[in-house]
Amino acid sequence: EAGVTQFPSHSVIEKGQTVTLRCDPISGHDNLYWYRRVMGKEIKFLLHFVKESKQDESGMPNNRFLAERTGGTYSTLKVQPAELEDSGVYFCASSPRGISTDTQYFGPGTRLTVL
């Protein structure tokens, strides 16, 4: 069974540019989460999809971030325009039921560097 995959593994862009990150969850997992780790700090929640619907987007930092999950399969996270403080590692995770006792399975992350 394939795990969670993320693309690209690393992205380097200039301030003001746009970047789109992609996450493919484990097949059959309706629940998809995005997290971010900035500057060696703790990993922070960004948002949670149940199928194609945003269940919780309380962690999205501002309106420069747009997440989508059309069709309830893969998800994209677009940053437009990117700022220096957006640099960090973006993780995606998926789980089958989306409840508090579920294990979330993480992808390898996308390291975003904004220059």
């Binding site: 989460y33 006792t101 993480f106």
Partner: protein
């Protein structure tokens, strides 16, 4: 608000010695606790979790964790460390407030360095 603290940025241990990576938590209600490990250039890998029941939880790669309700702790342990255990370890608690969506709240991470 729910939170997790990992008081040590780095833990150093000699190969073959027991290791402990500390984690304390603050939650309202019953805590659901997780440990993840990140090896260099890899993603987060699930190690173990505590939901209910026995306070000693066994997980992958010989790791275990002890849930202590009175001390609000969930320390990660291994009886005999390996050099290959050197990695970044994250403790997390599941936010099971009114939404019960399972989002995780992480500690800052602890780097474990096992020396030969």
């Amino acid at each position: 608000a729910q939170s997790v603290a990992q008081p040590e940025d780095q833990v150093n241990v000699a190969e073959g010695n027991p290791l402990t990576v500390k984690c304390t938590y603050s939650v309202s209600g019953n805590p659901y606790l997780f440990w993840y490990v990140q090896y260099p250039n890899r993603g987060l890998q699930f190690l173990l979790k505590y939901i209910t029941g026995d306070n000693l939880v066994k997980g992958s790669y010989g790791f275990e964790a002890e849930f202590n309700k009175s001390q609000t702790s969930f320390h990660l342990k291994k009886p005999s460390a390996l050099v290959s255990d050197s990695a970044l370890y994250f403790c997390a608690v599941s936010d099971h407030g009114s939404s019960n969506t399972g989002k995780l709240i992480f500690g800052q991470g602890t780097t474990l360095q096992v020396k030969p």
